[in-house]
């Protein structure tokens, strides 16, 4: 059993790298969203909508990375 040898696909490392940016972005979106709701609780409705819209746009990048990890 050769433990030292690394086998596997380089694509998964690429996916890991591509997720860093999306992770930071999602953190910023939700963090600032929480802050906005804390400052202006009555604006929760539209803020929540926009938080999820931004989250969807940013997570699209991570998902593209996931797809490319399998496609290429």
């Amino acid at each position: 059993m050769d433990i030292a040898a690394i086998e596997g696909n380089l694509n998964s490392i690429g996916y890991g790298i591509s997720v860093i940016g999306a992770g930071i972005g999602v953190g910023i979106v939700f963090g600032l969203g929480m802050q906005a709701i804390a400052r202006q609780p009555e604006a929760r409705g539209p803020l929540q909508t926009n938080i999820f819209l931004g989250f969807a746009l940013i997570e699209a990048l991570a998902i593209l990375g996931f797809v490319l990890a399998f496609a290429i």
Partner: protein, 283 residues
């Protein structure tokens, strides 16, 4: 490797510390092949045949139909306990999903969103049964959901804003200086008509796919490390190892339940967000 890889006894005999007098063998992690179960009835042109996914889909569909027909049996103005729980779910959909995104004019979509949410929850939950897969870990099912939502947004948008009016509002967002459109229009076109529906489907698919692969790795690794047949000292160590894997499995199992519910919620929320952009022009 088939879907039975999730059943722990599927590949016996291969352990971390080989039994006395036996040659060792390497760990074979569960692979993508796990998501392509052998069809029981193949040979149907244009399809994969009747396999595990189809059966689970029918079960999920039946479960959600049963649940809601049970909730809505013998409706009365003053709700009883059973009807009260059903109304609680509908109110949850209304107050958390459609009202914040679409406002009061989106109330006619509450039944649709409730149906989509319930069906997706049941289709995800099926992956929690060992040996089964979440139905949404096959791309075709979330893709059909997303395609349906995409077509619905087109139809609703063209009805509300007129055929060209809807497309114009989407790709030329009003209220911008003219030269900006050179930059904005290609991005918006790509975003609205390609990236949005594709990621809508892939988000649900990717989380279910990765989640059940993770659970399979823990279950499989726990079984691999458990080598009772080895020397007593090594066997004791292996029991510790696989105990750690079992604890990890249980933790991620609970985490996975949460993920399944949250993903169903996000899918429905995004669906109603996209519908909202058809209901009213951007401003």
């Amino acid at each position: 490797m088939s879907a039975d890889a999730r059943i722990l006894a599927a590949e016996p005999g291969c352990h971390l510390f080989p039994a006395q007098g036996e040659a060792g063998c390497g760990f074979e992690a569960p692979s993508i092949g796990m998501f392509f179960p052998e069809p029981w009835l193949g040979g149907i042109p244009g399809s994969d045949g009747i396999d595990l996914y189809l059966v689970l889909l029918v079960v999920a569909l039946g479960a959600s139909l049963l649940l809601w027909s049970w909730f809505s049996k013998k409706l009365s103005l003053v709700p009883g306990r059973r009807q009260g729980v059903g109304e609680m779910f509908v109110l949850f959909i209304r107050d958390q999903i459609t009202r914040p995104t679409m406002g009061a004019k989106g109330d006619k979509f509450i039944p649709l969103m409730t149906a989509i949410f319930t069906l997706i929850v049941f289709m995800n939950i099926s992956g929690l049964i060992p040996g089964m897969l979440p139905v949404n870990s096959d791309l075709s099912f979330p893709a059909m959901f997303a395609l349906f939502i995409f077509v619905l947004t087109l139809v609703v948008g063209m009805r509300q804003q007129g055929g060209w009016g809807y497309i114009r509002n989407q790709i030329f967002p009003p209220g911008m200086p003219k030269p900006i459109y050179v930059l904005v229009t290609p991005i918006e076109t790509l975003s609205v008509f390609i990236i949005r529906p594709v990621t809508h489907a892939l988000r649900l698919f990717a989380t279910m796919f990765a989640g059940s692969l993770l659970l399979a790795v823990f279950a499989y690794g726990g079984w691999y490390m458990l080598s009772i047949g080895a020397e007593p000292a090594l066997a004791a160590v292996s029991v510790l190892f696989s105990g750690a894997a079992v604890i990890g499995y249980i933790l991620f199992f609970v985490f996975e339940i949460l993920i399944m519910l949250v993903q169903a919620f996000i899918f429905t929320l995004l669906a109603s967000l996209y519908l909202n952009q058809s209901l009213e022009a951007a401003h």
